[in-house]
């Protein structure tokens, strides 16, 4: 799989990288951002998933 994208939390700058997932919140490496549960929150600041923006 290639073409993984990165998303940035607009509140604190935390980056969600699809290639890496998020270990602390149990998101497996390779998980697409749209496949993360809607109630997932930024592990750094607690902002809602909708606070994330796609990075160019």
């Amino acid at each position: 799989m290639s073409d993984f994208k990165k998303y940035r939390c607009s509140v604190c700058g935390h980056i969600y990288d699809e290639a890496e997932g998020d270990f602390d919140t149990g998101i497996e490496p390779g998980t697409r951002f749209e496949d993360i549960p809607d109630d997932w929150r930024c592990p750094e600041c607690g902002a809602e998933k909708s606070a994330y923006e796609l990075m160019e």
């Binding site: 509140v11 604190c12 700058g13 592990p43 750094e44 600041c45 902002a47």
Partner: protein, 337 residues
């Protein structure tokens, strides 16, 4: 209703945006000494390994907040609070003004704590507390890189920020020596086992870690700065990272109750009923300062809801797990708080 907010960190900005969303008609004024926009303070610790940091650290230009009809007075300093008259005196870039408020929110955050014995040597060391500090450090470092050299750094303090900065400079390729007073790293946040694994990770990144170090002061030696611990060693630059100090001076001068921070009750209200405080400056009745991004944002959103009449009861601290941004380090136990 006119609410005045002092400070444009995560506390002030989260509050003002949330309150605007809840109360479209309220008048909101945010006063800040910053001039670069709202930026991510945690990312300061990645300020050397990220080339584009000076742009990418900005999460929101102030104009984006102004577009939500929030007045932003930037590059400005509040010089006095008058609780009896309910006014704040503002020393702005173009003018001095006196603003009246119905509610005042103090969210000025903290500055770097410099231990008294170091204060006479202020011009001999850097600190990394805000974006202005980071830009200064990056310019200094670039001066060396431009001459194909690497500055040798001494970091004073092996707490959270000191370990993060040492890690980031080391993975960026610079020689780093970390001085720590205690016998183990981040002893306030980590259990012993995790301190040991952090030590190994830092050593693996090339950081020279010196524990049990009583740094007495600094002295200039030609182009270099010497760190004196009984013996002395010379470096191109020194960064002091020995904790933070809440900005309580304005509150003190205004006669508010202060301790380490500005004392607030469980509703984040100071000893003056029209003034609230949150973030690094707020000291809760249990004596704690919730100086981490997740609880600060939680305080800000709660207070906006409370003042908008949509929350009742008390602010309750949320569960949170702070995490040091040290390259390659994961603690196996939760951080102590």
């Amino acid at each position: 209703m006119h609410i005045v907010i002092i400070g444009s960190g995560v506390g002030g900005v989260s509050f003002v945006e949330k309150y605007r969303a809840l109360c479209p008609d309220a008048r909101l004024t945010l006063i800040t000494r910053e001039n670069d926009g709202y930026y991510s303070r945690p990312l300061l610790s990645r300020g050397f390994s990220t080339d584009t940091i000076e742009q990418s650290i900005i999460l929101k230009p102030f104009d984006k907040l102004r577009a939500q009809s929030i007045d932003i007075i930037s590059a400005a300093e509040v010089t006095a609070i008058n609780p009896a008259e309910r006014t704040v005196a503002v020393n702005g870039p173009d003018q001095q003004t006196l603003l009246s408020y119905d509610k005042l929110i103090l969210a000025q955050g903290s500055s770097a704590f410099i231990p008294p014995p170091f204060r006479p040597y202020d011009e001999l060391f850097f600190r990394l507390n805000n974006l202005v500090d980071l830009k200064k450090l990056r310019r200094f470092r670039q001066g060396f890189l431009d001459r194909n050299r690497r500055p040798a750094w001494a970091i004073i303090g092996g707490g959270l920020i000191g370990c993060e900065v040492a890690s980031d400079l080391a993975v960026s390729g610079d020689p780093v020596t970390l001085y720590h007073a205690s016998g183990r790293l981040m002893e306030r946040q980590l259990v012993t086992e995790d301190s040991v694994s952090l030590l190994n990770v830092l050593k693996g990144s090339g950081v020279k870690v010196l524990l049990h170090q009583a740094v007495q002061g600094f002295s200039r030696e030609g182009d270099k700065v010497s760190v004196n611990t009984g013996v002395s060693a010379a470096f191109d630059a020194v960064i002091v990272a020995t904790g933070f100090k809440p900005r309580t001076e304005l509150a003190e001068q205004a006669g508010l109750e202060t301790g380490r921070g500005i004392k607030v009750n469980q509703r984040l209200q100071t000893s003056d009923e029209h003034i609230y405080a949150l973030g690094d400056v707020a000291e809760l009745p249990n004596g704690k300062l919730y100086a981490f991004i997740l609880p600060i944002r939680n305080q800000a959103l709660w207070l906006a809801g409370f003042l908008a009449g949509q929350e009742s009861g008390d602010w309750q601290p949320p569960a949170f797990n702070p995490k040091a941004k040290v390259h390659g380090f994961e603690a196996t136990h939760p951080y102590l708080f």
